[in-house]
Amino acid sequence: MTPEWIEIGRGLCYAGAGLTFGLAGAGSACGIAIASHAGAGVMREKPELFGRMLIMIALPGTQGFYGFIAAILIMTQTGLIGGGNLKISLGTGLALFFIGLGNGIAQLVSSIKQGEASAAGIALIARRPESAGRAILFPAFVETYAVVALLATILFIIFLTQPSVLQLLPQ
């Protein structure tokens, strides 16, 4: 494998890392904004519900962290952070790129949809504050698939970057 192909493989895997936290972060920002609009409107009438609103607004923010975890894992496992100069084949790089992209899309969509579910839950809490416990469940179900996507991403990254797959390049 020529050094050019190794560079392309490395570039692809870092592009995947960039996409995974970029898309997840953007999704979380959108999701929080959707929930925040509804929460702020409720607090206009019922400021005493701030604590319950805060939980619902914060829920879509977790996907941003999931994207961050996946990106950091790609960077540490491929040697960009704290590792040596690893040999990443074009195939491995391409696989890591699409894993990062897939995780990013899953986090992006789930955080926006979680924001909408949180806004609906906020509407329920506004009408019936005693239903806060149940209202939090619905956006939590959306979270499930963000967690599943993160777990799959972590497994893929770990198995694709085992020492038998990646070799240390000579200095």
């Binding site: 959707i34 609009h37 509804a38 409720v42 019922k46 609906a120 906020i122 509407a123 506004a126």
Partner: protein
């Protein structure tokens, strides 16, 4: 197409820019009153009890222990007006609130055409513009009113009060339809169209009861959008018993039921049934998280709540029997 039982109107997608005002709607919807609230007032015997009962409602801030109860209708109107204008200020589009606020404007125009100063809180039209109507200047009035006057060469000064009222009613309905077209919502458009049709039918019915020739009156009343051919058909049929078949759909069914009522109650029953039908239709918007339909549905419910409050409180003050008040309550979803 006329709406009938089992209707399904598609929702528009959630619009995040309506999120703030819809969050506020959610909190305010929690304060809407259930039907039992009104029936309890109907059963009360002392106005002090009514005052206590109204604590914790949306109208609470407008009541103080020394208020003259005779002014209760004005208090309820002020409460609705203040809330509607406050919601309007927070909406990305003023249309859902304007659909309710323009009613006062057209009532003020009617007063001005009769030579009386504005009595209702202004919605979209400034008080100066209404003041100009007193002097016969219609230039600054909304296009549904102004365009018809200039287009048909109508001289309102030559018309008697009931005829000029019909002209203003027609302009009001055209304005409602124009506003509904400004917002991309099939639900709002359907509700407005049904409301307009119901209003048009009851207006024609009242004119018919006055013994006037409907064909002469509709020239002042029209056009009202897609309903023009139907209105002309109704005007050519002087027997209201034949109207339900012409109107069709749910409004036609309600009209047929109203005609079965005693003569004096027919028109008011029809108006109540149309209002309840539109309220029922708009209540589907509660399923939406954020969008103009939520605002429209809340204002429909708030308007009905204020009408119900006016009915039961002023009814109690005037010692109207509870058997008369109960059936006149509007649909509530509090």
């Amino acid at each position: 197409m006329r709406l009938s039982a089992g209707y399904m109107i598609p929702f528009i997608k959630n619009r995040p820019d309506w999120g703030f005002v819809c969050g506020r709607m959610s909190a305010l919807e929690g304060k809407l009153l259930p039907r039992e609230f009104f029936t309890l007032i109907i059963e009360m015997h002392h106005t002090e009890d009514v005052y206590q009962h109204l604590q914790g409602t949306l109208i609470e801030d407008y009541l103080d222990p020394g208020i003259p109860w005779d002014d209760f209708s004005a208090i309820a109107d002020e409460c609705f007006y203040d809330l509607a204008t406050s919601i309007r200020a927070e909406c990305p589009s003023p249309v859902p609130a304007d659909l309710f606020l323009i009613r006062n404007d057209y009532l003020n125009i009617k007063s001005a055409l009769s030579g009386i100063d504005s009595r209702f809180l202004p919605g979209m039209i400034r008080e100066q513009t209404i003041g100009a109507v007193l002097d016969g200047d219609y230039a600054d009035l909304p296009s549904p009113f102004r365009d018809r006057i200039t287009g048909a060469g109508i001289d309102l000064g030559e018309l008697d009060e009931s005829m000029s009222d019909m002209f203003v009613d027609g302009a009001y309905l055209r304005h409602l339809l124009m506003l509904a077209d400004e917002i991309d919502s099939p639900l709002i458009r359907s509700c407005v169209q049904e409301r307009v049709l119901g209003h048009a039918v009851s207006s024609l019915w009242r004119v018919l009861r006055q013994g006037r020739d409907l064909k002469q009156v509709v020239d002042l009343f029209l056009p009202v959008g897609e309903e023009n051919p139907l209105i002309l058909d109704l005007a050519g049929t002087p027997d209201p018993a034949a109207w339900p078949d012409l109107v069709g759909g749910e409004i036609g069914d309600q009209l047929a039921r109203a005609i079965q009522m005693p003569y004096d109650d027919q028109i008011s029953t029809f108006e109540l049934k149309v209002t309840n039908f539109v309220l029922h239709l708009s209540a589907y918007a509660r399923l939406e998280t954020s969008g103009p339909e939520r605002v429209f549905a809340f204002l429909m419910a708030l308007e009905a709540e204020m009408q119900n409050l006016k009915l039961v409180v002023t009814g109690k003050i005037n010692r109207i029997h509870e058997d008369i008040l109960g059936p006149r309550l509007r649909y509530v979803y509090g």
